[in-house]
């Protein structure tokens, strides 16, 4: 076997990708190590996030220097993340399904590409622009029409913005799958006397269900990690669990993004380490969700081919 320098070179380049991923995980673990020891499992179950007294002398707990009175609990952010993503999915799935079905079945093929491109374009609008629109349009609307106390920032605003951002993922996946349903299956259903809508609902949708679920899980992964738009419209709730749709919340991602100043101010660096631990939690959650999406979609392809 001769040495092939070009192949080795591109292999080296491609190995940088796993290397980067491993470096991210490794450094987050190493750096958050002292925070893990200090926080223990309470990290996930406590409501209170308190940086402690940053100007007093640090105290030593379990061999680790921390600001006096510091306590790091992320339950609020975990709940905020799960709640906003779950509501976003609840809003996005029916909208995306309706949009995809209408595009696939009713919209004439001549103008379908234009409309499906519009749907795809939603996915490329930067997160921060969604946030800006949320502040300029959505928040005043919620504040004056829905919210009991006139404040539009909170769980509902975050969920709606998230829903808008993830709808195109679900709609595009479903549209692609619907377009691939074999003609024979549709025509058999029509021949049995089904209405057009029954053909879609009782024949086509069951065939593409695995793909649809894969798309929904993929969208969930995106919603869980979404940062800027949520940071801008969520109201930044800390230390209190959300009680209604209008409660201010923080998600894990938005909280990390908003904590730069306090991280910089901590002389013991313990808050930076605790934030690294949060980032690690978020990484694990999104990794699991994305892996699930991958398994579901790859399985779905096999089912469809056999059908």
């Amino acid at each position: 076997m001769t040495l092939r320098p070009f192949r080795l070179a591109v292999l080296g380049l491609s190995l940088l990708i796993p290397a980067a991923l491993c470096a991210v995980v490794l450094f987050l673990i190493l750096y958050s190590g002292p925070a893990m020891i200090f926080n223990g499992l309470h990290f996930l179950t406590q409501v209170n996030w308190n940086l402690g007294d940053l100007y007093d002398d640090p105290v030593v707990v379990r061999g680790i220097q921390v600001p006096a009175g510091a306590n790091y609990g992320i339950l609020v952010f975990v709940v905020g993340t799960l709640a906003s993503s779950a509501i976003a999915i609840l809003i996005a799935v029916p909208l995306a399904m309706g949009a995809a079905i209408f595009l696939a079945e009713i919209i004439p093929p001549r103008i379908r590409p234009v409309l499906s491109m519009l749907v795809e374009l939603i996915a490329v609008v930067p997160s921060v622009v969604f946030g800006l629109w949320g502040i300029a349009v959505l928040i005043p609307f919620i504040g004056s029409h829905l919210s009991p106390d006139g404040n539009g920032y909170g769980l509902l605003a975050a969920s709606i913005v998230l829903a808008l951002m993830i709808t195109p993922i679900i709609a595009s996946t479903l549209l692609d799958a619907l377009m691939q349903v074999p003609r024979e299956n549709r025509e058999s259903a029509f021949a049995l006397g089904a209405t057009h809508f029954e053909v879609v609902g009782k024949v086509m949708l069951p065939m593409v269900r695995p793909t649809l679920i894969g798309g929904i899980v993929l969208a969930l992964g995106r919603a869980l990690g979404e940062t800027m738009a949520v940071l801008m419209v969520s109201g930044g709730g800390v230390n209190i669990l959300p009680t209604s749709l209008f409660s201010p919340i923080s998600t894990i991602a938005s909280f990390v993004a908003g904590q730069l100043d306090s991280a910089e101010a901590d002389p013991t660096n313990m808050s930076v380490r605790a934030l690294a631990e949060i980032a690690l939690v978020l990484f694990i959650i999104t990794l699991l969700v994305n892996a699930a999406a991958k398994l579901l979609t790859s399985g779905a392809l096999h089912v469809r081919k056999r059908a």
Binding site: S14, Y31, I106, F197, A279
Partner: protein
């Protein structure tokens, strides 16, 4: 329809099915409208308020509070994007070459999986990783180098997968012909396969460019913010960027800050949408041509 064509009265069941179907279609149509309407509203609101904030001094003055322009932010976004692309394009295209040409094995699948995992990782995590390693560990401080490297980590896996897809479109007979003429691996790739797939690779690079112009979260912890233009240093010198203006200035109480935020959002959205629409239209023309 079929029932009336036969001139027979509809049964109650038939009527119910037809009504259900009608309602179903209406709901689906409403769904499509509700999906597309916000996009149109976002474009309209940002374009309207952004354009009404436009003036020549946006491009000639630095951001000094609400009265300034956007010169330093525009310059910073350009610099971050250019240096991120300079780092990421060779790495991403090289990785894509490996995955497409020599990656049909276990190792290739593993790299593909890790690459997709990295793409699915929330960008704030990458930013925080860079903060720990580059800002604190290496002591670079908020800087252009840290920002560009972070964006590069974000777009390399993306470039790799798009390059792989593009190279896969090149027929194997072209590779075999080149090898038969005595070309080596590098010559086959650079003289035959890459030129044949150049438009696909270029598409990927453009989409990656759009991503890096629109990103915010990974820059918060890496670029910092500066009221001044770039002084030529790669480390120990924070840089301004457009998306920072959007998310911080909209929180200021005064209308002038809001106007700057919308002007910045308009510029970012213009670049991102122009690239994405252009790429999609070109692809479609080629598919139909």
């Amino acid at each position: 329809m079929s029932a009336s064509a036969l001139n027979a009265p509809r049964s109650a069941l038939e009527t119910r099915r037809l009504i259900t179907s009608r309602i179903g279609w209406v709901l689906c149509g409403i769904g499509l409208a509700l999906v597309i309407a916000p996009l149109l509203d976002i474009v309209a609101v940002v374009a309207w308020r952004g354009l009404s904030a436009f003036s020549p001094h946006l491009f000639t003055e630095n951001t000094t509070g609400p009265n300034g322009g956007l010169l330093n932010a525009i310059e910073g976004t350009l610099l971050i994007t250019i240096f991120a692309m300079v780092i990421a394009v060779p790495l991403g295209v090289g990785a894509g070459i490996h995955l497409s040409e020599y990656g049909k094995n276990r190792l290739g699948s593993a790299i593909r999986f890790m690459s997709d995992t990295l793409t699915g990782t929330p960008s704030i995590i990458l930013g925080y990783f860079s903060y720990i390693v580059l800002i604190i560990g290496f002591g670079w401080g908020f800087s252009l180098a840290a920002a560009a490297i972070t964006i590069a980590i974000l777009i390399v896996p993306y470039l790799a997968r798009i390059t792989e897809l593009a190279l896969q479109q090149v027929p194997n007979s072209m590779r075999e012909a080149a090898y038969a003429l005595g070309a080596g691996d590098a010559a086959v790739i650079f003289k035959v396969v890459l030129p044949a797939a150049s438009s696909g690779v270029l598409t990927g690079a453009l989409l990656a460019l759009a991503i890096s112009v629109g990103e915010t979260a990974p820059l918060i912890y890496t670029a910092g913010w500066s009221n001044y233009g770039w002084d030529g240093r790669f480390t120990h010198e924070p840089v301004a960027y457009l998306t920072y203006v959007i998310w911080t200035f909209i929180d200021q109480p005064d209308a002038k800050s809001h106007a700057l935020a919308f002007a910045a959002a308009f510029l970012v959205m213009l670049v991102v949408l122009a690239i994405n629409i252009g790429v999609r239209l070109t692809l479609r023309r080629r598919d139909h041509g």
